[in-house]
Point group: C2
Chain length 212, copies 2
């Protein structure tokens, strides 16, 4: 890590180049409308090399997953004593929002990303798969701590639902044209609402009357 070496530096540069070229093309024209061969050519590299760095086409677009997973896992695993995972994650969401992090969902640069993502079934599928990986990581931590595998998986699933629903809500508003600053401000309450539901339960929402 001190001296990466020429070889390693070249690799990272190539990887970054391919990723950037691909993301640019996807945002211009949509995920399905760009072929891997085209990306390879635009990056001045062979198709095989693209698959060398990114095993699936979808990974060209969703390449920040590993970081996100590591960060969320660390938030839960290394939470301060006296803080529940639910609280730790709630605070984490608030701080993502406050710092204007893309994964808060409430940033202006999001529309392109969201549009590309939602208009491709393949990308959506991969996106959901990544959510499952997050839930699985949480469940693993909880199981280590408690030994109760089922309850751990349940709580992990519920917490993951909060995280992803909060994100999707903000993104949805941004894409709908709402002002990013307004969304950001109102998102504070949204986060709390989501984690309150997980922490204290849904009760009898939305009431016990049948629809008709």
């Amino acid at each position: 890590m001190a001296d990466p070496g020429l070889r390693e530096r070249k690799k990272q540069a190539t990887r970054l180049l391919i990723s950037n070229v691909a993301t640019g093309l996807f945002i211009q024209r949509g995920f399905e409308e760009v072929t891997v061969a085209e990306i390879a050519e635009a990056a001045g590299v062979s198709k095989m090399t693209v698959f060398n760095y990114f095993p699936r086409k979808e990974d060209l677009f969703l390449d920040r997953h590993a970081d996100r997973l590591a960060e969320l896992t660390s938030v839960v695993r290394s939470r301060p004593a006296g803080v529940s995972p639910c609280t730790a994650l709630r605070r984490h969401q608030h701080s993502l929002l406050a710092s204007g992090h893309p994964l808060s969902g409430a940033i202006a640069g999001g529309p392109g990303f969201w549009w590309v993502l939602t208009s491709s079934p393949a990308l959506m599928a991969r996106w959901y798969e990544q959510e499952r990986e997050i839930a699985a990581a949480f469940a693993e931590v909880f199981t280590e701590e408690t030994g109760d595998a089922f309850r751990s998986r349940m709580v992990a699933g519920l917490l993951t639902t909060a995280i992803t629903t909060v994100f999707a809500h903000a993104m949805g508003r941004i894409v709908a044209g709402d002002d990013a600053e307004v969304v950001r401000r109102e998102q504070v309450a949204v986060i709390d609402q989501a984690f309150d539901l997980v922490e204290r339960g849904v009760g009898d929402f939305p009431g016990t009357g049948a629809a008709s």
Copy 2:
């Protein structure tokens, strides 16, 4: 519907034949190891016809989704007055279990199904997508009832998590070799535990102490 007609009968027969042939091959050899061309040949039909009935290869295996979605939607939408969706779904899970329904997860015939499903990323992706469709359907019902889109999506997501986690837990035990009858008996408490978590919240599970 009274008189299906020869044409319609043939169509249904063909559809069923293809589905059965495909499922058989999948369980014998695994999802990825069977090609669509092979299924078509084994069913005495052309590849195009297979895709005519099942738009994606995954639908050959996961072809009960539409029924499941309709059933769950109806459980929520047409719940009796005085019963919350959470309670309605909890009861539904109990009744699936009591009647030995495959979707309770606690049946002996499951291992083949579960093995095929879990050993294919493509199938898993489609499976998760179907869960999302269920959550979306719930959210739509709740939004109609309350007008609160965000809270509806949250609650829908949490309820869906309960359903799927309960199912996965039972299936996991069956595959691990546990006796189906034992699993079925113990699954009653599992269902209640899951829906209790959704209804009353996770609190500070798994405690507020950090791991290390």
